[in-house]
């Protein structure tokens, strides 16, 4: 039903295309006309001040929020139709606190029609956790929880990863490890969108930095400006 063949995804030029995206919350417009094209297989870091609309953009790409006007196309389809190609990691964990990591993934695997524990265990190992860990996710430390949340997002091997502040409240150590993991996924041909306030963490990893401001993409740069953040803070 959707283009789930990775080769075709990488071939298409604009893997994620948004046109004139506007999202209104009552009187307030969180997205004010976002038009952009993103290529497959790249690592995009989305940066911007609080309230710039980063989360709203990511939720719209994931199909969780429908835009007031404008269009989103993911691999040529609507976000809902392309849901098997999208992995989304939100600020909350999207995991059941009362179940262990493996049990969580097992349930989500059913939703995607993935049979067997093999894939679940493989993913848990990929994010650097132990699939045997019986503790419920609610008792994980913040860093472990974020990793498990990432595991849930990549469980069905999506082409496109949307990550919303995966490093917030995470210590430097865990954050660096997650960056390394993401880097390796990018090598494997995935397209990654990552929202963060800690741009310096992505210095060597991201292909492009997308700057948002007041609901618009104001700039796209290949690297962090050398004067960041001092410059932006004046």
């Amino acid at each position: 039903m959707t283009i789930s063949d990775p080769s075709s995804a990488t071939r298409s030029s604009g893997c994620v295309v948004v046109k004139g995206l506007i999202k209104q919350f009552g009187r307030f417009a969180a997205l004010r006309g976002v038009t952009a094209e993103f290529a497959a297989g790249k690592f995009y870091a989305i940066l911007g001040d609080n309230g710039a609309g980063k989360t709203t953009l990511l939720r719209t790409l994931a199909g969780l929020s429908s835009p007031t006007s404008g269009e989103v196309s993911i691999l040529g389809a609507s976000p809902r139709a392309a849901c098997r190609d999208i992995g989304y990691m939100a600020h909350p964990s999207l995991l059941y606190d009362e179940m262990s990591g493996l049990e969580n993934l097992r349930y989500f695997a059913r939703l995607y029609g993935i049979a067997g524990d093999q894939r679940c265990e493989q993913v848990i190992r990929a994010v650097g956790l132990d699939p045997k860990l019986a503790r419920p996710v609610g008792q994980y430390s913040q860093g472990m929880r974020q990793r498990m949340s990432l595991a849930r997002a990549i469980l069905h091997d999506p082409q496109i990863l949307l990550l919303d502040e995966p490093f917030s409240n995470v210590d430097m150590h865990s954050a660096r490890e997650m960056v390394a993991l993401l880097k390796s996924m990018r090598e494997a041909g995935k397209t990654i969108f990552l929202v963060t306030h800690q741009a310096s963490l992505l210095a060597g990893a991201a292909d492009e930095f997308v700057w948002m401001e007041l609901g618009k993409i104001v700039d796209r740069t290949r690297s962090i400006p050398p004067d960041f953040p001092a410059e932006r803070a004046q």
Partner: protein, 225 residues
């Protein structure tokens, strides 16, 4: 269709497993129901002659309040950490989630009723003068009537401010025919004065109509932002 049932069962199994693991909600609900029965018997003298006439109402009002408390918890687990969002972006059909939740609630509320009914019988010295077996279809149809709409409206009310309050506000007006049906059928059976046939048919119609409506419209509710 296949995936609908497989996901329904997976979700139901997960809910039952989690409920069983903590048993907190279950114990609390049982205790709550016991308290409702006790408070009722303090408020409505169980020895009075007329009790056979009011006990149909008592039982179902008690079940209704207990059910509302239980139904309000339906989506609590899915909202914590916004797990519901994970469901929404998955390819799983919306109705699988609805059916699983409604079936879970049916089991839960049915269990409550099965445990409260003996209490009522003991406290109020009940004995049906009509055909007692008819109480079973009344209980099943009545419970499903409460639960199917309750699950649906709980999904609506979690989208609103002051969630807990919203569920009864939506559920009670729509449930009035069902409540009337349950109470009248139960009273008819207990007093043996008239036939409960009409009320059972009414409950059946109610169940069919609203189950269809819920299944047709749940997708719209789930994916409403």
């Amino acid at each position: 269709m296949n995936s609908l049932w497989s996901i329904t069962l997976a979700t139901l199994a997960k809910d039952i497993r989690l409920e069983w693991r903590s048993k907190d909600a279950l114990n609390a609900m049982l205790f709550f129901s016991l308290l409702v029965v006790v408070i009722f018997s303090f408020s409505f003298d169980p020895l009075a002659e007329e009790s056979r006439h009011i006990v149909g109402g008592l039982i179902w009002v008690a079940f209704l309040f207990a059910a509302v408390v239980a139904l309000n918890q339906t989506w609590a687990r899915e909202l914590r950490n916004q797990v519901l969002d994970a469901y929404r972006i998955s390819p799983a059909p919306a109705n699988a989630l609805f059916l699983a939740k409604a079936m879970g609630n049916f089991i839960f509320v049915g269990l409550l009723e099965a445990l409260m009914t003996p209490l009522f019988i003991v406290f109020y010295n009940l004995r049906a003068l009509g055909p007692a077996w008819q109480l079973i279809p009344v209980a099943v149809l009545g419970t499903w009537a409460l639960v199917v709409n309750g699950t649906f409206f709980a999904a609506m009310s979690v989208r609103t401010r002051s969630r807990e309050l919203m569920l009864p506000l939506l559920l009670f007006p729509i449930s009035i025919p069902a409540v009337l049906g349950m109470v009248q059928a139960t009273t008819a059976i207990l007093t043996g004065e008239e036939s409960a046939r009409f009320w059972i048919v009414l409950l059946l119609t109610y169940d069919v109509v609203f189950t269809t409506a819920c299944l047709a419209l749940f997708g719209a509710i789930l994916h409403a932002e």
